[in-house]
């Protein structure tokens, strides 16, 4: 992330698919030596245990969030062309699929892991909300890798806040402005709407930054009909790679119609 109104990092990626698969890792904790960014603070990994970084198909670095024991949420533009990978630490295979409307602003993808994602003991997966689209002026928490004004990704996790703007203009997206804004490496990362106490829920996925007079961060919203349909359809199609049997996919959801959430979901 970077301070809003600072210089934007630009990435023009090749659209050719690379042969190498996606590789997911968990980021390092910030140290005393890690650079500061204005408007953000160094994040402690223990507070964000379900956040992963990965190298995407075209060599880009992206973020993913574990939202269930075998589910990762990320941006579609990070998996263009090839959608398979592994979680480095555990070697667990990962297969990703883009939202069917990804050409029409729905820049999100879901990834299914062949085995349970291993988090540190006692740590929870993040919870998504498919009913809540944040309203204008809501302050969201953003997570990112702290690209500073020059030099790119620092490789450690930062957190900060930004305020929602233009929430209702389109169903698929919303924007935030002020505070921190998304920067290189933050694609696919989650936008969190804080609840009471330490509760939080994922309401969007980082997609793009827009430079100009008032720097904006663009997020793909989760609370819309096509995305609910995508989640439900995708969850019902995942199969065990060995047996081919359909696997019931558990997703940490805050939803009246899905009151039963798996254990280990962040409240």
């Amino acid at each position: 992330m970077r301070r809003a109104l600072a210089i934007l990092l630009l990435c023009i990626s090749s659209i050719k698919a690379y042969a190498q698969p996606l590789e997911f890792t968990q980021p390092a904790d910030a140290t005393e030596a890690s650079p500061e960014i204005i408007g953000g603070s160094k994040a402690i990994m223990a507070n964000w245990p379900a956040t992963f970084v990965f190298t995407a198909t075209s060599g880009e670095h992206c973020t993913a969030t574990a939202i269930g024991p075998q589910v990762l949420l990320t941006a579609e533009h990070c998996i263009r062309g090839a959608a398979n990978g592994t979680i480095k630490a555990s070697g667990i295979a990962v297969q990703c699929e883009a939202h069917p409307f990804h050409n029409s602003n729905y820049d999100i993808a879901l990834c299914f892991t062949a085995a349970r994602i291993v988090l540190a003991a006692g740590q929870d997966f993040e919870t998504i909300d498919l009913k809540l689209k944040p309203a204008d002026d809501t302050r969201l928490s953003l997570l990112g890798f702290g690209c500073i004004s020059r030099g790119g990704v620092s490789g450690v996790l930062y957190e900060g806040t930004s305020v929602v703007k233009d929430a209702t203009a389109q169903k698929a997206v919303f924007f935030t402005t002020g505070g921190v804004s998304v920067c290189a490496g933050d694609s696919g990362g989650a936008a969190y709407q804080p609840g009471v106490g330490s509760s939080r829920r994922v309401v969007g996925v980082a997609s793009a930054a827009i430079s100009g007079q008032n720097d904006l961060s663009r997020f793909t919203a989760l609370a819309n009909g096509p995305t609910i349909v995508f989640f439900e359809d995708w969850a019902g199609r995942q199969r065990d790679p060995k047996t081919g049997a359909v696997i019931p996919v558990e997703i940490c959801l805050v939803d009246k119609d899905h009151a039963d959430a798996p254990a280990d979901c962040h409240i």
Binding site: C11, T55, D186
Partner: protein, 619 residues
């Protein structure tokens, strides 16, 4: 201040009956009335804009920055939408035909039965050269925030290398300039010593020093030229005149970076690829059926993005309408819908590219204060309304980023702005005149070159017809004398002598509001012209080397003016502390200083050669 005199100094009296009215008809393209008479036009304010865009940064991890600067000159132009025809028939009396004399310049009435007015030169208001504004290219294009390990670059290799060369040359230019300055001083000292007491030792030292300085100068010139050439490559200049007519007050997207320059500087295909993949498609949204549909109308709509009316959109893309399922249409690439959608996608990419990368500008004429309007003032259409004139309103000419307003209250900084009187924001007034039977009179009015009323006079004399005729005759004679006296005035084109006289006159009649005061501008003009004239005179009598000295001095003086201008712009530039902007000013200053030093080196070497030659001739 120049005067424009519109004077009716005599009107005929009639012994027959009725009144005499001065009749002036408005003439338009649809006018069906008689075109017989004396036609004249009002003026409107036009601006000559010298637009300079410089690519100032192109880092791999940043959006390119282009600095846009403008030099604005306000002009007066004849307003084809305000044409009036004076009906001479309305002036004819039973006794005599009015002796009517009309004088024009550029379609403007400058005299009516009265003295002519010197209308030399069209520059009527301030010339404003602004520090400009840094515009981020690709502003508004969403950029995906994945990070590529190998940093991507939006600019072409030549752009990157030219920027790098200018940066790399800064220190060597400074070092070489300082060294040559010192060497020049040493040579001057040696030459002065030699002139006092020529010795063989000094001669040898001078010859060696001259040779060394010549070599150093050559090196400095080469590196300075390389930086200047690189800077010229990174700069695009164009001149435009706006508006075309008096009823245009806004242009929302004009004068983009030429295609050739954009293609020269930027990787157009790569940028279009980013736009195609990652642009926020405001014209596609999810319907209640959870399918994706097109939005055509409104600010979010595809038609608006393309700058088209909805009707034009429907004509160009007949298969596309809000009912179409965009996802299914895209899947069926070979279908009529699929082909048309692909065409729309491509057109939208180009539209976004045009807006974001070719960075057009917006132009606005805005009223200041309570007088005036941007709704064209028609004035009275009644023929008996008499002479029409327009009083300009106080206004501001603004150059903004495309599709934006800017300036006070808008929150957006302008690229350039100039305050002044804007004729077409003003109201058209009229001076009518009628003379009853057995009466005569006169009406006069004087205006300045902005069309503002300075004086007005009305006289009516109810004397008997003969006395009235005599009065008319004598008044006409007086007017005739004035006309004859002024006939000798030469309204020549712009020449050195005329410009010199104008500069002297302006010095005495300055107006405020220029970027430099008029006194400063006129003094500089005067000095430059006088120096130029001196050079021309001296060249006829002196030898070439002495003439070269003077030419050198003028060149150095001009460079010092450039240096002062750069420093002034830097002091006023709100972006001066931004790295790329600071780098550009530093480079510009370094090159100008190097050129001054190089010219001074040439002067010192000529002096030395002259001293050696003189000593040789003496021996």
């Amino acid at each position: 201040m120049k005067l424009r005199f519109l004077g009716v100094t005599a009107l005929s009296a009639t012994l027959v009956s009725g009144c005499t009215h001065l009749e002036v008809n408005r003439h338009g393209p649809d006018s069906t009335g008689s075109r017989s008479g004396y036609a004249y036009m009002l003026d409107f304010t036009q601006y000559q804009i010298e637009l300079k865009r410089t690519l100032i940064s192109c880092d791999a991890d940043k959006v390119p920055e282009v600095k846009t600067e403008a030099t604005i000159t306000a002009l007066l132009a004849p307003d084809g939408e305000q044409v009036y025809v004076i009906d001479p028939e309305s002036m004819i009396s039973a006794f005599k035909t009015s002796d009517i004399s009309i004088t024009y310049k550029d379609g403007r009435l400058v005299a009516f039965n009265a003295s002519t007015v010197d209308k030399t030169g069209d520059v009527i208001a301030s010339v404003a050269a602004t520090a400009g504004k840094v515009v981020l290219l690709a502003s508004g294009i969403p950029i995906p925030v994945s990070d590529k390990a190998g940093k991507a670059q939006m600019c072409k290799d030549d752009a990157v290398s030219n920027l790098a060369l200018i940066e790399a040359n800064k220190k060597p230019i400074k070092a070489a300039t300082d060294a040559l300055d010192e060497a020049n001083a040493k040579l001057a000292v040696l030459t002065a010593q030699f002139a006092t007491k020529p010795t063989e030792k000094l001669r040898t030292q001078i010859e060696a020093r001259t040779k060394a300085n010549a070599a150093a100068k050559k090196q400095l010139d080469a590196i300075t030229k390389a930086s200047s050439d690189a800077q010229a490559w990174l700069t695009d200049r164009r001149t435009a005149t706006w508006p075309d007519d008096s009823s245009t007050f806004h242009a929302w997207s004009a004068y983009p970076l030429p295609i050739g320059t954009a293609d020269k500087w930027f990787k157009g295909d790569a940028i279009r690829g980013v736009i195609a993949r990652d642009q926020t498609k405001t014209w596609e949204d999810t319907g209640d059926d959870n399918k994706i549909h097109l939005i055509i109308e409104g600010e979010r709509g595809a038609a608006y993005q393309l700058g088209m009316s909805p009707e034009a959109f429907r004509a160009r893309y007949p298969e596309l309408n809000p009912a179409v399922d965009v996802t299914e249409c895209r899947k069926a690439a070979g279908s009529a819908c699929g082909i048309r959608l692909a065409q729309l996608d491509n057109d939208l990419v180009n539209a976004v590219y045009y807006r974001s990368v070719r960075a057009p500008i917006a132009l606005h004429l805005v009223r200041r204060g309570s007088y005036g309007s941007d709704k064209p003032s028609a004035g009275s259409s009644h023929p008996k309304a008499g002479l029409r004139y327009r009083v300009p309103a106080a206004g501001t000419f603004l150059i903004c980023e495309a599709n934006q307003e800017c300036g006070d209250g808008s929150g957006s900084e302008p690229i350039a702005k100039v305050n002044g009187a804007i004729a077409q924001l003003g109201t058209v007034f009229n001076i009518s005149f009628s003379s009853p039977a057995f009466a005569s009179g006169s009406v006069s009015a004087t205006f300045d070159d902005q069309g503002r009323l300075l004086t007005a006079g009305l006289k009516r004399d109810n004397a008997a017809a003969l006395a009235a005729a005599n009065a008319v005759g004598s008044t006409v004679d007086e007017a005739g004398k004035v006309v004859k006296a002024k006939k000798g005035a030469e309204l020549a084109g712009i020449t050195n002598a005329t410009t010199l006289a104008k500069a002297k006159a302006d010095l005495a009649k300055a107006e405020e509001g220029l970027t430099k005061t008029p006194q400063q501008l006129a003094s500089e003009q005067l000095t430059a012209l006088q120096t130029q004239q001196q050079i021309e005179a001296i060249q006829a009598t002196l030898g070439p080397s002495q003439a070269k000295d003077l030419t050198n001095q003028v060149a150095v003086a001009k460079l010092q003016l450039d240096l002062a201008e750069t420093q002034r712009k830097r002091a006023e530039d709100p972006h001066a502390d931004q790295a790329a902007v600071k780098a550009q000013y530093d480079a510009q200053t370094g090159v100008t200083n190097a050129r001054i030093t190089s010219l001074e080196a040439e002067a010192r070497m000529v002096e030395a050669e002259r001293a050696l030659a003189k000593a040789k001739a003496g021996s």
